[in-house]
């Protein structure tokens, strides 16, 4: 992370914008907005498939039931 004076790349931005993001605050903000540990376990710790055909073949081979999670307006693993 730079410690030198941070010279903005931008032309004169409107005065009514939210405050600039300071480089020294970046890492903390990035971590703050990211999900806290465990919140996305349902997404990241489960080996989701995206294909019903693939799921059926795997379930039949392994002798397991299938969990089908469906959502409208996109994948449930995405913005729903």
């Amino acid at each position: 992370m730079r410690t030198l004076a941070f010279l903005s790349l931008l032309a004169l931005a409107p005065a009514d914008l939210p405050p600039e993001i300071r480089p020294e605050d970046f890492a903390k903000l990035h971590a703050l907005i990211r999900p806290p540990a465990g919140e996305f376990a349902w997404r990241d710790e489960i080996p989701w498939l995206l294909s019903l055909g693939e799921a059926r073949a795997k379930a039949a081979a392994e002798g397991k039931p299938i969990l089908i999670w469906n959502a409208a307006d996109g994948s449930p693993l995405g913005p729903v």
């Binding site: 939210p18 993001i21 703050l32 919140e39 969990l67 469906n70 996109g74 693993l77």
Partner: protein, 343 residues
């Protein structure tokens, strides 16, 4: 969104006992898959527990997950082996593949998170302690504490990655940002992602420049700002607006009351040998407003006010199924296939 997200036992249990598959109900697959889905599926936003042969073992609504997971496993165990390991034959149709988009070849894939924020006592930022998942008759319902995180994906095409390459640039030199990248960042991500992308970009600026050059890699800085959707106007009251109905003094215009204003800062790293970015970390910090945003934050408040929100980008490899899902803005039925456009 549901308590499913916070129950610690669920992920390990599913890993052990199920073959999990996540489906966009609007694009369930090729005809064979669509037929199977229609046979076993109860409705949208459900967990369906089924055998490979299509026997239904149970289901749970996504907002009310109970112990039917465990019951489904017990039911499955009680089935004869022939039903637990059925001969299902060919599972994929020779018909045309589903219109489900995966990242284009050579794409940069990033996850994008969105979180509601508050100012803390020291003047810094904290995550909002509470949000509401729905509104009913204009009143917020289903509180969640602490506030949840939204997730979306962002794709940059191979051509756009090439255009963003800093190869040959010296420290301090700028890299021109393609109009399509600027538009995509602002149109689809300079907003409250809980509500969905906005309809327009009022104005904005995006710049990329070389911060440092090292053997084999180049570090870049991304800066920008954007004003999207409708400008905030506190005189536009949201009172009396009922979701899904026509009514209220400005109901016909409430969809235009959503808007946001953001600042962006990002740090990227480009691998010269691989000709690819191996870091794409960015933050957008701003304010958002509108019926959904204010409702999710416990409003509408009187007087109305813009509410702080943050977005964060991080690079992912894109090889895991969870990271191959289509960005909301790129869904073929969402925005008229405008995700990759320049204007």
């Amino acid at each position: 969104m549901s308590a499913f997200y916070r129950a610690a036992w669920v992920a390990p249990f599913i890993r052990e006992h199920f073959v999990p598959v996540a489906i966009d109900a609007y694009t369930p697959g090729d005809p064979a898959e669509a037929e199977f889905f229609k046979k076993v599926n109860h409705g949208v936003n459900y967990f369906n527990y089924v055998t490979a042969a299509g026997t239904v073992l149970g289901r749970d609504g996504c907002d009310d997950m109970k112990s039917h997971l465990k019951e489904a496993v017990e039911k499955f165990k009680a089935l004869p082996e022939g039903e637990r390991k059925p001969e299902i034959g060919k599972t994929e149709s020779a018909a045309k593949a589903r219109p489900y988009r995966t990242p284009p070849p050579g794409a940069l894939v990033a996850r994008v998170y969105c979180a509601y924020l508050d100012r803390d006592e020291a003047g810094g930022w904290s995550r909002a302690k509470r949000m509401y998942q729905n509104t009913h008759d204009g009143q917020p319902t289903n509180p969640v504490e602490p506030s949840l995180t939204w997730v979306d994906m962002m794709w940059l095409t191979a051509e756009e990655v090439k255009a963003l390459s800093p190869e040959g640039k010296a420290k301090g030199e700028r890299v021109a940002v393609p109009p399509s990248v600027r538009r995509r960042l602002f149109r689809y991500y300079a907003c409250d992602l809980f509500r969905r992308p906005v309809d327009n970009v009022r104005e904005g600026e995006l710049a990329l420049a070389v911060d440092d050059v090292a053997p084999g890699s180049v570090r870049l800085r991304l800066e920008g700002w954007a004003k999207t959707g409708a400008a905030f106007d506190a005189s536009n009251s949201l009172q009396g607006y009922r979701r899904g109905t026509v009514g209220g003094p400005k109901n016909a215009e409430t969809s235009t009351l959503h808007g946001a204003e953001f600042r962006f800062l990002g740090f990227l790293n480009y691998d010269l040998a691989k000709k690819a970015f191996d870091r794409f970390d960015a933050v957008g910090l701003g304010e958002a407003w509108g019926w959904f945003t204010e409702g999710y934050r416990g409003g509408p408040h009187e007087p109305r006010r813009p509410l702080p929100v943050g977005v964060a980008f991080e690079l992912v490899a894109g090889d895991r199924p969870a990271d191959q899902v289509t960005p909301f803005g790129a869904l073929p039925y969402a925005f008229g296939n405008s995700y990759f456009k320049e204007e």
